[in-house]
Symmetry: C2
Subunit: 242 residues, 2 copies
DNA sequence: CTTAGTTACGTACAACGTACGTAGTGAGAT
DNA sequence: ATCTCACTACGTACGTTGTACGTAACTAAG
């Protein structure tokens, strides 16, 4: 009976290779890669122990030798994606530019793996690669004269903006994966309902907002504005509050 | 064969009471209330069709007369909680104060129903009560001279801050509900791992950040600072960027 | 009164996470 | 060289989930 302890454990603290016995057929990286492949192809709900095992080409229960609980599989996945960044370059010294670039890359990553938004809120945020990412974020702020507490708050806010906006953007499309109809159909029906509701006159300001002719929404621009505002708030002095 | 159409539908567009046949034993509000009670008591994972039906005192499959799919049950729950706000009062004219108060109430609501954070990202955001809330948010900004597009962005950022911070705050505790050990045990093991990792010297800035003696973190203060920053960024003019 | 649509709900099924047991493997101890 | 035993591999099985489907009872519309 191996590897399913009844006490709390962190997958990262568990040695990948045990001393005795035959050598494992797969590495942790193999398993994370397989799970990520399954999620990219079929969404996060397709990531079942059976599917991942099939992708690896082994029996379902063999997976449990590597991953005691399904949540640990999620942690492996999140960490692997967090490791996809190229972070070797040294910060340029312009913290605003560096952090903006980093946020853009984080956003691109989450759009490349649309299931990550949901996963990140289901998983403990301190895997090895997540810590590497965090360390790099702080390194970008070396030139900024602030206590680390505030730097952490800045980084948290930037990450918050990224996940919030990407999640909003992808939620409809991702949720539609589990539905028997298409995302477009779903969207059309929702919009029709909202249109009827707004036309009722009960929501005058919402009506005005939707009537406002501003052309199609540029999601990139919206994201950039939100990010810039957060960065601004750490640059400018706040006006006194009565 | 009633009520499980193969085409897209919105629960809110479906009439609560059909013209023919015996009158339903429950109202939509009854069902939402029961589901919320189950979630408050046992977390979101306790909300199963069987449990909610048991809470109502009816057969499992009877629920499907009211709620075609489980996701619709989630929508009912989210809408009910969104309806728990008291919003009758007119905005005071001080949009900053009004929006701050509103954000505080939203935060309190999400802490009172810790499962809401996860639910809101799984559900389409335009239920009747959500629209009421949005309309009220816009009403708070009546005095602010901005196009509706920007007002919507402001409201979205405020809501984003609320959900982000509450989710971070609650995620450990909520996740621990499904684990065979306690949140405290889990936390202790995680902290121990991080401590070992940080002591390795690979994350000098993280180490410095954790070493920085700032006393226990005041989550309320952190939230207030983040919120204030977002509001600031719509008040102050942004300095020119080179 | 008829009839057709609605409500109520028991049964059944596929898919899930995973507990458990068994068989085989191979590195360290003797 | 042989023994030993932790470890790997994985089939079987159980409890739980969402929900498709069928049946029986009920009631408003024609």
């Amino acid at each position: 009976m191996a590897g399913r302890p009844a006490e709390p454990h962190v997958i990262w603290a568990r040695p990948e290779r045990a001393g005795r016995g035959p050598k494992p057929a797969f590495s942790r990286a193999d398993i994370a890669a397989a799970a990520v492949r399954v999620a990219d192809a079929g969404g996060i709900d397709a990531v079942t122990m059976r599917q991942v095992a099939a992708e690896l080409g082994c029996g379902t229960m063999s997976l449990y030798n590597y991953v005691p609980r399904k949540e640990d599989l999620y942690e492996l996945m999140a960490d692997r994606v967090a490791g996809e960044y190229d972070l070797p370059e040294k910060p340029s010294g312009d913290w605003r530019a560096d952090l903006t670039a980093l946020a853009h890359r984080a956003r691109a990553m989450m759009r490349a793996h649309p299931w990550m938004a949901r996963l990140m809120s289901a998983v403990y945020g301190f895997s090895p690669n997540a810590m590497r990412y965090l360390e790099h974020s702080l390194a970008c702020l070396d030139a900024l004269d602030l206590p680390y507490g505030e730097k952490m708050e800045l980084v948290a806010m930037v990450n918050g903006v990224v996940t919030t906006y990407v999640a909003n953007e992808l939620q409809t499309a991702e949720r539609a994966r589990s539905l028997p109809w298409s995302a477009e159909q779903e969207h059309a029906v929702r919009i029709a309902y909202m249109g009827r509701e707004i036309a009722s006159g009960r929501y005058p300001r919402l009506a005005a907002a939707f009537a406002e002719d501003s052309g199609p929404i540029d999601l990139d621009a919206v994201f950039d504005r939100a990010l810039a505002r957060v960065l601004d708030s750490f640059t400018t002095r706040r006006p006194e509050n009565p």
